[in-house]
């Protein structure tokens, strides 16, 4: 029983990290309806920005987080302005552009920085024991940051003037434009913020998963899985989807053969697509 409860804790902590990994993608998808296949690569790039800030500038962990956030916000704005914006309305072209950009970034990262695992010293070291139960500090803080970000994004979209503007743009960008809203600027802001959040997620997860060019695949797959499961564009759905995937993942590896364990999260995903294509908390016909 003790081990079972510990595995539940592990699943919740992993779910928190999955939520952190996917919040940026969910936001971009929800508001802009853009399937950003370069998400994983931008996530990885953010990690390297923090890593090199830490190594070259001797920046402490939290300063490296801020540097990565700012730099990747700018990178996101550039990618949106020069990449996705001209292709808006042509979903196939946007998808191929995202995939192409992803390959370029990943290949470039491998050539430039090699493929070894890299780590950043984090202030959240070791483990915290609650009686017999163990909570790794790095995972605990990643989960807390995840909750904070999801809460902040939810608050921004639902409770602020900026959020109302973003929802208007999301509902009908042409009509919003006729009302005097600079939709291009709003899209750039959302894409920049989503990219910056992905970078932040990557930095907080480096102490757990380490950093190497391959992490882009993990972030992309998990990001899309969480978004599809939780509900396309639903911010609370992101948390729900991530928690389910985290728990299923841990339980599958804990109580089934490792060779079939990876099937369980995928099976959940397929069932969701079959039975509730809009996701658990998604709404039909509206993405945000």
């Amino acid at each position: 029983m003790h081990l079972f409860v510990q595995q539940i804790i592990n699943g919740i902590l992993l779910g928190g990290m999955f939520a952190l990994m996917s919040i940026g993608l969910s936001m971009i998808f929800g508001i802009m309806k853009t399937a950003n296949f370069a998400y994983g690569s931008l996530y990885m790039l953010g990690g390297y920005v923090a890593y090199w800030s830490s190594v070259l500038l001797q920046a402490p962990f939290l300063v490296a987080v801020v540097i990565a956030f700012v730099v990747m916000f700018g990178a996101g704005v550039i990618v949106e302005y020069f990449g996705f914006a001209p292709l808006r309305g042509n979903e196939d072209a946007a998808l191929i552009f995202g995939l192409g950009l992803s390959l370029v970034i990943r290949g470039g990262a491998t050539i430039a920085w090699g493929s070894q695992n890299r780590f950043i010293m984090s202030p959240f070291e070791g483990a915290v024991f609650f009686g017999h139960f163990v909570v790794p500090a790095a995972r605990f803080w990643a989960g807390l940051v995840s909750l904070a970000i999801v809460g902040a994004v939810y608050f921004m979209i639902e409770r602020t003037r900026l959020g109302r503007v973003l929802r208007a743009v999301s509902d009908d960008s042409r009509r919003a434009s006729l009302l005097g809203i600079n939709t291009k600027a709003q899209f750039c802001f959302v894409f920049g913020l989503g990219t910056a959040l992905s970078a932040l997620a990557c930095v907080f997860l480096i102490p757990v998963f380490s950093l190497l060019p391959d992490v882009d695949d993990t972030a992309l797959y998990i990001g899309f899985a969480v978004v599809i499961l939780g509900g396309l564009g639903s911010i609370p759905g992101c948390i729900v989807g991530a928690m389910i995937l985290g728990l299923v993942n841990v339980m599958a590896f804990a109580y089934t053969d490792s060779s079939i364990a990876p099937i369980f999260p995928l099976a959940i995903l397929i069932l969701t697509l079959m039975l509730r294509p809009q996701g658990l908390l998604g709404k039909k016909g509206r993405l945000a």
Binding site: H2, L13, G114, S115, S122, P136, D214, T218, V250
Partner: protein
């Protein structure tokens, strides 16, 4: 039914099909035999050059350890070429070194292999993944190709396939020493392991467990992982819950590092780690990775634990050429490639079937002068040639200057410095099918010692 289709009965279809299958089978068999019988040795060289291919991951998993290995094969070939190439039948041949991307997958390995076969390549080094090896093994016989292999599990390495040269130790020979070290030196009594779920992982675990239990230890946790996995909390909690006082990590590269780091974060703060697989300085490079894996006990060939002028020269060259460290796996490619090239001269032939037979004589003549201090070979009837390579236990030192010293500090006890990394020639595993349950596939240390004595082999360590 029209002029292109005539009404036919089911019986006619069956008879026709049977004839067609029979004809194809017979023609394939005859064709195969004829092709084999009429091998022209000139096919092994083109335009005065012999191809020695490298197939290792350039993308996907295990790219870190692959890089020094790729360079090692290339450096060995460059040195032989610079010395005039390989001299066979009075002709000197230069060696070409095509490189294929294994991608750590069966499909990648097979694709690279087929491409090289089409270009006339008959010698291959590398193949680090089990799926990659499984895909190429067997195919190599039909294409008259010699594979130089490192680590595999018994289900792959002990199948019938004569065109193989195993240049590294067997898990069955090293596992007992790891268990002995854990029990008698580290004083571990309850062992736990996390292993990659394949035949290679299974061999290491079972070889370790047999001796560990014979000594009086208990294996309290055994769990598996997949190469695509990134989170190991389920396995680590199981291990923690079991009360294990050591962790045996049976996978290398990024996944191995991640297991070590996550294990330390997950509450296994003080227990010793033992590790198998492809590890190098990169795994210890920064921050948390370094402190987590410091002191991990790891088995390697002699060059893993010593550092001399030759190491320094290659270290400088690798770092200057490719910006990489001289990691442990450099030695996998370097001397084994040279042995094969020297065997071409010894056999006075470029035909891999002649070359593999000449390897034992080459090792007898030059083995003890090699960095790896090869002690000879075990020549099997059907399974290829196994190098007798002494093994050394070392402990990771993350504070080492990777450019100028080894990351593996040899352990203190002489027993573990240069112990036999091969199975004795009288081991039934060399002749039996891997499925044969009557064979003792995982002998304990005492059984191994007796078997070695019965074979007239020395059990003593070679030393540094």
């Amino acid at each position: 039914m029209g002029i292109l289709f005539q009404d036919v009965s089911r019986r006619q279809v069956m008879k026709g099909g049977a004839k067609a299958v029979g004809a194809i089978t017979i023609s394939t068999a005859i064709g195969g035999r004829m092709a084999h019988a009429t091998v022209d040795t000139s096919q092994f060289a083109q335009n005065g050059k012999v191809k020695f291919g490298t197939i290792l991951p350039l993308s996907g998993d295990f790219t870190v350890v692959s890089q020094p290995w790729i360079h090692a094969i290339k450096i060995a070939i460059d040195e032989v070429n610079a010395a005039g190439g390989v001299k066979v039948n009075g002709t000197s041949y230069q060696i070409d070194n095509p490189i294929g991307d294994e991608m750590y997958t069966a499909a990648g390995a097979l694709s690279a292999y087929k491409s090289m076969v089409a270009d006339g390549c008959h010698y291959y080094g590398g193949l680090v993944s089990i799926p990659g090896q499984a895909a190429v093994q067997g195919v190599n016989i039909g294409t008259d190709s010699l594979i130089v292999e490192a680590l595999t599990g018994k289900d792959l390495s002990l199948t019938n396939n004569n065109l193989r040269f195993f240049e590294y130790s067997l898990a069955q020979a090293t596992g007992p020493y790891m268990a002995d070290y854990a029990f008698n030196v580290l004083k571990v009594r309850k062992a736990g392991s996390i292993e990659i779920a394949n035949t290679w992982g299974e061999d290491f675990f079972k070889s370790f467990a047999a001796t560990f239990q014979e000594l009086g230890g208990q294996v309290v946790s055994r769990s598996y992982m997949e190469i695509t996995q990134t989170d190991y909390s389920a396995q680590i909690s199981d291990l923690l819950n079991s009360g294990a006082d050591m962790l045996y990590i049976i996978v290398g590269d990024g996944p191995g590092t991640a297991i070590g780091v996550q294990a330390r974060q997950g509450g296994l703060t003080n227990i010793p780690f033992l590790a198998e697989g492809a590890w190098g300085p990169e795994m210890l490079q920064q921050g948390d990775g370094g402190t987590s894996l410091d002191g991990t006990v790891y088995p390697g060939a002699r060059p893993y634990v010593i550092w001399d002028a030759q190491h320094q020269a290659y270290s400088d060259k690798l770092h200057a050429d490719a910006g990489i460290w001289l990691n442990n796996w450099f030695w996998h490619g370097y001397e084994s490639t040279k042995i094969v090239l020297w065997a071409m001269e010894k056999a006075n032939s470029l035909d891999p079937r002649d070359v593999v037979k000449a390897i034992p004589a080459v090792v007898d003549e030059r083995g003890k002068g090699l960095m790896i201090r090869a002690q000879g070979t075990v020549v099997t009837a059907d399974k290829g040639v196994f190098l007798k390579i002494p093994m050394y236990l070392g402990r990771f030192n993350s504070k080492a200057d990777f450019l100028h010293e080894t990351t593996l500090v040899p352990v203190q006890e002489a027993k573990y410095l240069g112990f036999p990394g091969w199975m004795p020639a009288n081991w039934a595993g060399y002749t039996a099918s891997p499925d044969d349950k009557s064979v003792n596939w995982y002998p304990t240390m005492s059984e191994l010692t007796k078997m070695r004595s019965d074979a007239g082999e020395d059990n003593a360590s070679v030393g540094l």
